[in-house]
C-alpha cells in the first residue's frame, strides 16, 4: 500500500536540502509544494527540462499548415472565385489566417496539454489534501511530500531530522 509523507518547512533552504537528500531513491517520489514557484526546486528534485516548448512548436506548425491547406483547398480547388482576375490560390492573402491558426493551435495545446497531460488535472481529490494543515501550502508555507512504496515511518523520521516542522503520514485510499 502506498503512503504519502508530508512535512512542513519554514525556510526554503531547509526544504530544498531535504528534497536533495531524499530525491532519486528507489520507491520514493519527492515533490515540493509552495504558494509561488520556488527558485532551485528543479535541480533539487533532479527534474529534466520541460518538453512543453517542443509540444507547442509542433502544434503551432500543425495549426499553421492546416490553416494554409484549408484556404488553398476552399479557395483554390473546391470553389475558385474570380475576383477581378486575381489568382484563386493567392499566397499573400492567406498569411493572416495561417498565422492566426498557428497561434490558436499552439495556445490550446499548451493549455489543455498542461492541465490534462502534464498536471493530470482535473484531480480535486489528492491524498495531500487529506491533511487539513496542508491548506497553508497555497498561502504561506512550504511543504514536501514523498510518495512511499512500503514502510513510511523511516522516511517520516528522516524528514523530522532534516528540519520539518510537522510531519504526517497519509495512506492512499483507492476507491
Amino acid at each position: 500500500m502506498k503512503h504519502y509523507v508530508l512535512g512542513e518547512f519554514e525556510r526554503d533552504e531547509a526544504l530544498l536540502g531535504a528534497a536533495r537528500a531524499l530525491s532519486g531513491r528507489p520507491g520514493l517520489t519527492v515533490d515540493l509544494h509552495s504558494p509561488y514557484p520556488l527558485h532551485g526546486s528543479d535541480e533539487a528534485l533532479g527534474l529534466k527540462r520541460s518538453t512543453v516548448p517542443l509540444v507547442a512548436l509542433v502544434a503551432g506548425v500543425a495549426g499553421a499548415c492546416s490553416g494554409y491547406l484549408l484556404q488553398w483547398y476552399v479557395n483554390g480547388v473546391d470553389w475558385p472565385l474570380n475576383v477581378g482576375g486575381r489568382p484563386a490560390h493567392a499566397a499573400p492573402a492567406f498569411i493572416p489566417v495561417t498565422f492566426e491558426l498557428g497561434v490558436l493551435f499552439a495556445s490550446f495545446t499548451i493549455f489543455i496539454g498542461l492541465l490534462g497531460w502534464y498536471f493530470g488535472f482535473p484531480r480535486v481529490h489528492h491524498p495531500v489534501f487529506e491533511v487539513e494543515a496542508f491548506r497553508s501550502a497555497s498561502i504561506d508555507a512550504l511543504w514536501l511530500s514523498a510518495e512511499v512504496d512500503g514502510d513510511a515511518e523511516p522516511v517520516a523520521s528522516e524528514l523530522r531530522k532534516l528540519g520539518a516542522r510537522q510531519v504526517t503520514i497519509v495512506p492512499e485510499v483507492r476507491s
Binding site: H33, S50, V83, S107, P122, V128
Partner: protein, 478 residues
Amino acid sequence: MSTAEKTIVEAHALEGPPVLVGRPGDRELTESLFQPVLGPTRKGWLLLLAALLGGVGFWTLSLVTTFAVGIGAWGNNIPVAWAFDITNFVWWIGIGHAGTLISAILLLFQQKWRTSINRFAEAMTLFAVAMAGLYPVLHLGRPWFAWWLFPYPSTNGIWPNFKSALPWDVFAISTYASVSFLFWYLGLIPDLATLRDAAKNRTQRIVYGILSFGWRGSARHWQHYRIGYLLLAGLSTPLVVSVHTIVSFDFAISQLPGWHTTIFPPYFVAGAIFSGFAMVLSLLIPARRAFGYHQVVTERHLENMAKVLLVTGMMVSYGYVMEHFMAWYSGSEYEFFAFWNRWVPDAKHDTGHYAWIWYMQVFCNVVTPQIFWFRWARRNEVVLFIASILINVGMWAERFMIIAVSLSRDFLPSSWGNYSPTWVDWGLFLGSICTFGMLFMLFLRFLPAIPLFEVKELRRELDHAGHGGQAAHGEAHR
C-alpha cells in the same frame, strides 16, 4: 549623511517609488488582497452594480430591437454603411489590446511593475473583446446566421472568400478572444487554489476547488506551468499586433479616401495601446481607492502607465501628421479633400459637418497626454483619471472620424450623405460600456483581481535583491 548613503538615496530617487510598499508577509498579503472576494458584500459595490444594471437593460432593449427590426433600426445607410457599430468594434478591441500588452509584452521584458496590474488588465481585455465581437455579428443583418462566417462543408457548396479582409477578422478576433481567455485562466489557477484554501465557507471551497482543478502548488507542476505561461505570453505578443493590423486592413485595403493608406497598421496598433492604457487607468484608479490596493498598486504603476500614455499618444499624433502629409503628397485631390472635410466647416461646399468631433479628438489625443511631461501629473490620481477619460473619448472620436466621416464624403458629390445615430445606436454604445462595467464589477467581487502568487514571488525577489526603493522611504523591513 555619508557619500555612500547619499548615492543610495539618489539612486532610489532615480528609480522612483517602489513597486511594492513595505514587506508584508505571505499570509498578510493573502488576507488583504482577497478581502474583496472573501469579505462581506459592500453597499457601494451593490449600488454601483444596480446602477450599471440599468444601463445593461438599455443595452438589452437595443439588442432586442436590432434583432426584431433589423439594422434598419440604426442610423446607418448608404453611403455611411459603417458607423457606430464598427466604431464601437474598433474602439473596444483596441482597449482590449492594452491588457495583452501589460500581461504578455511586459512579462517578456521582465518589467516588475506589471505584476500587480496584469490580472486586472487581462480581465479588461476579455470583457472588451466580448463587447467588440458583438458588433460585427449584429452588423451581419441576420446575426443568427453568424456561423456562415466559418469555413464548414455546407450543403450549398460555398466557402468564405479568404482574399477579403473580413474573414481574416473572423479568425483574428476569435483567436484573440480564445487565447486571451486561456492566458487569463492559466494565470488564475494558482490563485483560485489559494482562494479554495483561504475560503471561509464550504460553498466557496467547493466552487474554487472545482475552478482550480486540484492545483496543489507542486514543484513538478510549477516547472511546466512557468514555461507554458511564458510561451502563451510569447504567442500573445505577435497575436495582439496581428489582430489590430488585420482590423486596420478592413479599411486600408479598400480604396476609400481616408482609409486607403499604408500607415494604418502601426497607427492602429499604437492607438489601441493608447486607448487601452487609458481604460486600465480609468478602472484601476477607482478600484485602488475602493479596495485599498495602495500597497501593491503604487505611484510607480500610475507613473509608468502615464509614461506609456505619453509615448503612445505621441505615436498617434505622428499618425495624424503622416495621414495629412500623405494626403497632400499623394497629389490625389480626393485624398486631400477627405482631410479638408475633417477640418473645415464650409456650408457652400457641404464639408466639415463633423469638424467639432475632429477638434475634440485633437484636444483629447494630442494635447491631453502632454501633461504627462510633468511628474506631479503622472503621480496625481485625479489628473490621471480625468486624462484617461478624455483619452477614451478622444480615441472613440478618432475611430468615428476615420470610419463614418470618410464614408460620408467619397468620390462623387451626388453620393454624399450625412450620418446621425438613432437611440438604438446610442443604446448599443452606451449600454455596452455599462455591460462591460458590470462584468468588471463581478470580476472584482468573485475572482482575485491582483495576481497573488506573482506578488509573493515579487516580494521574495525584492528581498533577495535587497532593494526596491525601501530604505529611502523609511518603511519597515521584514
